[in-house]
């Protein structure tokens, strides 16, 4: 088949996956938060309100899109794209099964992190261009928190890489056929969850939106589909973070006591179930916890998470090197 056609199909697949994911995740968020808060969530449109999100997408698409007077026009229109495109690109390296991956990159993990680190650029652009003080504070906060937490996040992702000996996400998932890495790398697992919550802008650390303080943060001045893109990319980031967590620590598409490739296409279902369970936990956290303060967040990042992750990387490195020496090449 034509190589360009395949590439195009893959891009379309990623786009479709992202949009579908957004729709499903928004519905899921509403339902999960609803039930957590002893209420029902959307109920009117379709059975149990399943078409509510579609209706909202339609609403966002058809809404009037006013542009505030003093915005920096170029950036204002560009910013949702700057936010949206990286979170779309990040889908590329995620292995849904051993073979189903949009682009099986040798440096998949590095690629994903590199792409995700473009996000704050879009957020600060949105905050700056909106000519709104709340947006500006929100944008600044997002840069501060994402820059400080990228290092702990990477550090926390290193132990699985060291054990698996590869930066390819498929290889890392495959390496967990014996034991899922969350158990041997428990501290790294927890650090990754915390840092990932910050990176994905999730509730105890959703500083840049911080509804009760900053109205809606960087998204305050956005309306209609521009807001939709910001919103969608946020859900997509949550999905990517959860996929990374599953791939790095929770065995990827594998099921315990089943050979790695025995499931075939069903492995993708297993993977998605795992990811959605992680997302459910994130929503559960979101429905429960208060928000930390920005200075506490940054202090925690630099003073606790970074040293802890460095120490753990050193310990893992030592263990990975010492293990074959002691037990004679089990690895």
């Amino acid at each position: 088949m034509n190589v360009y056609l395949v590439a195009l199909l893959r891009i379309l697949a990623a786009l479709g996956l992202m949009l579908l994911n957004g729709v499903v995740l928004i519905y899921m968020l509403r339902k999960v938060l609803g039930y957590l808060h002893v209420r029902l969530g959307p109920m009117e449109l379709g059975p149990h309100g399943v078409f509510q999100t579609l209706a909202d997408v339609l609403k966002l698409l058809t809404k009037e899109d006013p542009t505030p007077t003093h915005v920096d026009r170029a950036l204002y229109f560009l910013a949702p794209g700057i936010v949206f495109v990286p979170s779309l690109m990040a889908y590329a390296a995620i292995p849904f099964t051993g073979t189903w991956v949009i682009a099986d990159l040798e440096l998949g993990l590095l690629y994903t992190f590199a792409i995700m680190s473009l996000l704050p650029l879009g957020l600060v652009a949105a905050g700056w261009a909106s000519a709104n003080k709340w947006s500006l504070i929100g944008g600044m906060r997002s840069v501060a928190q994402q820059v400080s937490y990228e290092v702990p996040l990477l550090m926390a992702a290193l132990p699985p890489v060291m054990i698996a000996g590869s930066l390819n996400l498929t290889d890392i998932a495959r390496a967990q056929s014996a034991v899922w890495f969350w158990l041997p790398c428990l501290p790294a697992f927890l650090l990754f969850i915390v840092a990932g919550l910050v990176e994905a802008n999730q509730t105890p650390f959703d500083m840049s939106e911080a509804e009760s303080e900053l109205v809606a943060g960087f998204a305050t001045e956005y309306a209609s589909m521009k807001f939709g893109l910001l919103f969608l990319s946020e859900f997509s980031n949550t999905f990517i973070f959860s996929s990374l967590l599953v791939t790095l620590f929770l065995g990827g598409w594998q099921v315990p006591f089943v050979p790695v490739d025995a499931l075939g296409g069903w492995a993708a279902v297993v993977f998605l179930i795992k990811v959605y369970l992680v997302i459910f936990v994130l929503m559960w956290i979101r429905g429960t916890l208060p928000r930390v303060r920005i200075d506490q967040l940054l202090a925690m990042g630099w003073k606790v998470l970074l040293p802890a992750s460095i120490v753990w990387v050193m310990l893992t490195g030592a263990a990975v090197k010492l293990w074959p020496m002691v037990f004679g090449g089990v690895q």
Binding site: L33, H37, K133, S212, E213, G287, L289, P290, V292, R293
Partner: protein
Amino acid sequence: MSDARDTVAHAGWLTADKPSLPDEIPLTLKRVPSGVDEVMTEHLVVNMGPQHPSTHGVLRILVELDGEEVIACESVVGYLHRGIEKLAEHRRYSAVGTLMDRGDYVSGIHNEMAFALAAEKVADIGVPRRANWLRVLMGELNRIASHLVWYGTMGLDTGAMGQFLYAVRDREDLLDILEDVTGQRMMFNYVRPGGVLNDLTPRAEKKIRAFLSTFDAYLDEHHALLGGNEIFQARTRGIGVIDKETAIAFGLTGANLRASGVSFDVRRDRPYAAYDEMDFDIPVAESGDIYARYLVRIEEMRQAARICRQCIDGLPEGEHTAKVAKVLRPPAGEAYAAVESPRGELGVHLVSDGTDRPYRMRYRPPALFGLQAAEAITPGTFLADAVAIFGSVDVVLGEIDR
């Protein structure tokens, strides 16, 4: 810009009213040196409110920010001003209760009670014992409802969401009870000079007992969910400290004053209705921070439930209202009556000139004094703290603006 007065002038505010600026920097707007002025940074003046997710109604707070730090803040109120004090001068004594309800709309029973007590003092009306007990019962149920709203919005201010819905769920039961007895859910018009409007219904009594049997467990759950949370503690312990002297100087009352270590409660120190017959504790905390105010209010809810239990078990027989003339014409005189509303000492200073309408009714809004104190202690904290501080002193704009 150099100081807080410039904040105001910068925003173009003061000039309309007063051409000249005061020379001295106000105590309430004290300036905290930032240390970055040499690099020509500019402070950000933001308007929090009147439409902002966390200003509890239509409060507007003018905040000068240095990065995330609050340099000065000034609250602007009056958006909800309806002139209750003036309107009361044109209403019969029986109709003023409807205005009082709309003052502090979260705890209407207390507002009505304050006015009814003042009117009874002026007109020298005796109240039947059952009416007093009913007032206490309804007042304490209303206090729980009001504190639950405070608890919920305090969580929202710090970013949590779940506990607000749980608090509202419990408040719903209370509003059902109040609706059953009084006829409406918030604008009760229930406590009248001379007694109360209606007696308890059997259905309401059953509901109250059912509520009280489960409330303590739910309250423990509420407390564990928010107060036990480490993040909430990190956000509130040692933040927004109002020390004893400041609290007294700014006229704080109620839970805010008691959280600063002053044990003053109108219910105990100036007993009204049937509070001298009740057995309850007054929680007092020493630290004066947000967490102390939180703990005091949680404990007050527990004590309120305890008082309700005593009321419902020992409700005396008798009339629920004294025989009062349809059109009340108290003799000329003056009276001050105060109740312990959920926000503090809610006083009504009533002047009668012998006609059927009050000559002057002064409504002492406890939340106004809380707002002043919050405004005074906020500079020097972070923006997120400012939200929590203004939430913690429990401002209700209906009461502040009247």
